[in-house]
């Protein structure tokens, strides 16, 4: 059978010694973690290995010998290394030797208890120890769910990655430590550390505690009874700014919790939330500085009232057009006038309110603009809410038109059943035949005729206002889409994939190195990074809004029947 030896490329220039690592017998492969140099005392080596095994829970043992001779072959050393095989009994005992500066090493195994004397083929796989230790192997998305089956035939590569990742303690000693054991591994020239990272770790503890304290104060205030009275709670539930602020507060709570992240997913989520918040606040500050320079807020406030006036005037023109002969259609004069005057009066009220508020608009806008420093997403939500408030009259008209139309449609369908001599059985939820009296039939038919001939007028008003409402909903929807994008994009993961692509591994790739006959097969194992699409899919942050589950057909059906549509619902809101 083929024997696979995973050899770290940093140990290629190490002095002679013995190899330590993990032997995976199911796959007949040996993962070499380090080389212990001479002189050493075997008892101390065994003690050290058992200590490391206790801490890392990885079964590390002595795998074989490594002979790096700078000059010609040293016969005595070779015999000495073979004798070591009897002290550290390991089956099979792997012997790797390198001559001079040659790239091609000779590899052999000693099997004492095997009854098959056949020479087995050896594959030498070089791997970059530091990259394999830091990387996280992502299983393919479809098999991630069926992890139950994975337990018994764990993949070989994940075993290798797991071994190296869990042996961090082994790599903590370097050659400047005074101990009985002298190791060579990727960190043996000096343990790597970064001053900035250490300082930030020290500073993060008090910062987290302060943040937790502030957040508990804020959430205490939010939960107080004062804010739960009916008009206020209704207002908070309708404004999307409050939802966004609540969402961000949750994020801050996640970051500032002092529990360490248990696994890779939680760590990445924390990091993603942190970077997302940072970028959000930075963009918000940029927007704020742009708005407050050259008094743009004042200009905005000055143009707001004329824009609202303009919208109201356009609506009035529209209603006048509907009250005349719109698109050549002939409307019922009396109903037309009633509906038209009713809506015109509403617009008149609305304009009066706007003009009443006009002296305060600039101040309100100035203070509201300050909240852009909380983040760009908050500023966009405020924009969406301002649009909703300014087009409130369109929403009211849509509701009136829809209710009227809905009433008419239900009345028509019920009277149509009467016309045919049938009735809706509420108990049995079906249509039953029914014998009506003559006067019931007479009045029913009269009402049916009236409603039928008044239908075009109501339908036209309903159509016009529904289209306007849909326009506003589309604009608001686009803004919310942008907010969701900023909220859920895992920026830290994308930057990590860009700069340190070996940290997020989808798999490995092998490169065949130069071969020589008679020597073992040499392969280089490199990390195959995850694609950007999978990175975004795996590490997306969850958002609070859910997109409409209605299909297009049910939407059209609702529009036809005149039922009110609520396209953008938030998770946790009760369905109306």
């Amino acid at each position: 059978m083929v024997l696979k030896v995973f050899f770290p490329s940093c140990c290629s220039t190490a002095e002679s010694g013995i190899l330590i690592g993990r032997w995976i017998s199911e796959q007949n492969s040996a993962v070499v973690l380090a080389v212990i140099h001479f002189p050493f005392i075997p008892v101390q080596v065994k003690q050290y290995l058992s200590e490391v095994q206790q801490v890392t829970k990885v079964s590390i043992s002595v795998l074989g010998s490594w002979n790096n001779s700078k000059q010609e072959k040293e016969e005595s050393l070779g015999e000495f290394l073979e004798d070591l095989g009897t002290i550290f009994s390991h089956e099979p005992w792997i012997q790797i030797s390198k001559e001079g500066a040659s790239k091609f090493w000779s590899c052999s195994t000693l099997q004492k208890h095997s009854n098959n004397p056949k020479e087995e083929e050896i594959i030498l796989v070089y791997y970059d120890q530091r990259k394999v230790m830091l990387s996280h192997l992502h299983p393919p998305l479809d098999t991630a769910a069926s992890t139950a089956h994975r337990a018994d035939n764990a993949s070989e590569l994940s075993a290798v990655f797991d071994t190296v990742a869990r042996s961090k303690v082994l790599f903590m000693t370097d050659r400047y430590d005074d101990g009985p054991i002298k190791l060579t591994h990727w960190q043996s020239d000096g343990v790597e550390a970064s001053i900035i990272v250490e300082l930030m770790k020290q500073a993060s503890v008090p910062a987290c505690m302060l943040l937790t304290f502030l957040l508990s104060l804020i959430s205490g205030v939010c939960r107080s009874r004062v804010l739960k009275f009916w008009p206020l709670s209704f207002l908070w539930s309708k404004l999307s700014t409050c939802e966004q602020l609540r969402h961000r507060l949750q994020h801050l709570q996640v970051i500032s919790s002092n529990k360490k992240a248990q696994n890779q997913t939680q760590l990445m989520r924390k990091a993603n939330i942190f970077v997302s918040l940072l970028i959000d606040v930075a963009l918000g500050m940029l927007l704020m500085s742009w708005l407050y320079r050259k008094n743009r807020i004042g200009h905005l406030a000055d143009t707001l009232i004329p824009v609202a006036d303009h919208v109201a005037e356009e609506l009035q023109d529209l209603l006048q057009w509907l009250m005349g002969a719109p698109a050549g259609l002939k409307m019922n004069r009396a109903l037309d006038q009633v509906l038209g005057r009713f809506f015109l009066y509403h617009i008149h009220l609305w304009i009066s309110y706007i003009h009443l508020m006009s002296p305060f608009i600039e101040m309100i806008l100035w203070y509201v603009g300050l909240s852009a420093c909380l983040g760009l997403t908050v500023a966009l939500c405020i924009l969406s809410d301002i649009i909703a408030l300014l087009t409130f009259h369109i929403y009211c008209f849509y509701v009136y038109g829809a209710r009227l139309y809905c009433l008419k449609i239900y009345g028509l369908s019920s009277l149509w059943r009467l016309f045919r001599g049938k009735k809706w059985n509420v108990l049995r939820q079906r249509v039953d035949s029914c014998s009506y009296d003559l006067d019931q039939l007479f009045i029913g038919t009269l009402l049916f005729t009236i409603l039928l001939f008044l239908l075009p007028t109501t339908a036209l008003y309903y159509l016009v206002f529904t289209l306007l409402r849909l326009l506003v909903v589309i604009v608001q929807g686009l803004i919310h889409l942008l907010v969701d994008l900023i909220d859920s994009l895992p920026l830290y993961s994308i930057i990590l994939r860009l700069c340190r692509s070996y940290r997020l591994a989808a798999g490995v790739k092998f490169r065949v190195l130069e071969q020589q006959d008679g020597k073992p097969l040499r392969l280089l194992m490199e990390i195959n990074p995850l694609s950007y699409g999978s990175v975004v899919h795996t590490y997306r942050l969850p958002t609070y809004s859910c997109y409409p589950k209605d299909s297009w057909t049910s939407l059209c059906k609702k529009l036809f029947l005149g039922e009110l549509i609520y396209p953008w619902k938030h998770k946790g809101e009760k369905q109306d």
Binding site: V2, K4, E121, V125, T143, E156, V512, Q515, L521, N528
Partner: protein, 187 residues
């Protein structure tokens, strides 16, 4: 190492190169038909003629610069994401099978499938456009069901070699896959 010429399913000339690195490691690469200068210049001149026609109609010189820009960007996207130069299969007995596609711009996209996941390598038939073609594919083992197949990974999708080339590749792969069936009895 040997290289032999074959034909693809559409008649274009391709070449199969076989390398034996060791007793249990083989590399098989199929070189796809190269980008033809004729088709490249035909497409470029068509786009530029259309742009010039629009320019004559609208007298807006932006059309010309937009056409140049579009041609350049289109060529870069085609070379980097669409045009595959070479597809290779590296079979390492007891480790796995590695499938590599190298694009005309030098980009390489690799997938490695471990030997424990590979059930078999077979030649299948498929209906492609108006033809029935043969293609080589790797059958992946279903972890729950020892007889089941969880996924089919088609190989050489861009070069589409004909049956004679596929049979050569199939034989090479099967020789190495056979070794893993006989292996557990020893050692």
């Amino acid at each position: 190492m040997e290289e032999r010429p074959y034909r693809s399913a559409s008649g274009a000339p391709i070449a199969l190169r076989r390398r034996q690195h060791s007793a249990s490691c083989r590399e098989l690469s199929v070189r796809c038909p190269r980008l033809q200068l004729r088709s490249l210049s035909a497409v470029t001149s068509a786009v530029w003629l259309a742009a010039y026609g629009l320019f004559v109609l609208s007298q807006n010189s932006m059309v010309l610069s937009a056409a140049i820009f579009v041609t350049l960007i289109g060529l870069i996207i085609y070379l980097h994401f669409v045009k595959i130069d070479q597809e290779s299969l590296l079979v390492i007995g007891s480790l796995g099978i590695q499938v590599t596609s190298s694009y005309a711009s030098g980009k390489e996209s690799t997938t490695f499938i471990e030997m424990s996941q590979v059930k078999d390598v077979v030649i299948n038939e498929a209906i492609h456009m108006q033809k029935v073609i043969y293609y080589l594919c790797i059958l992946l083992q279903d972890p729950g069901d020892p007889q089941g197949v969880s996924e089919v990974v088609p190989l050489f999708q861009s070069s589409k070699p004909r049956l004679d080339c596929l049979v050569e590749v199939y034989k090479s792969c099967q020789e190495i896959l056979e070794q893993r069936k006989t292996a557990p009895q020893s050692g």
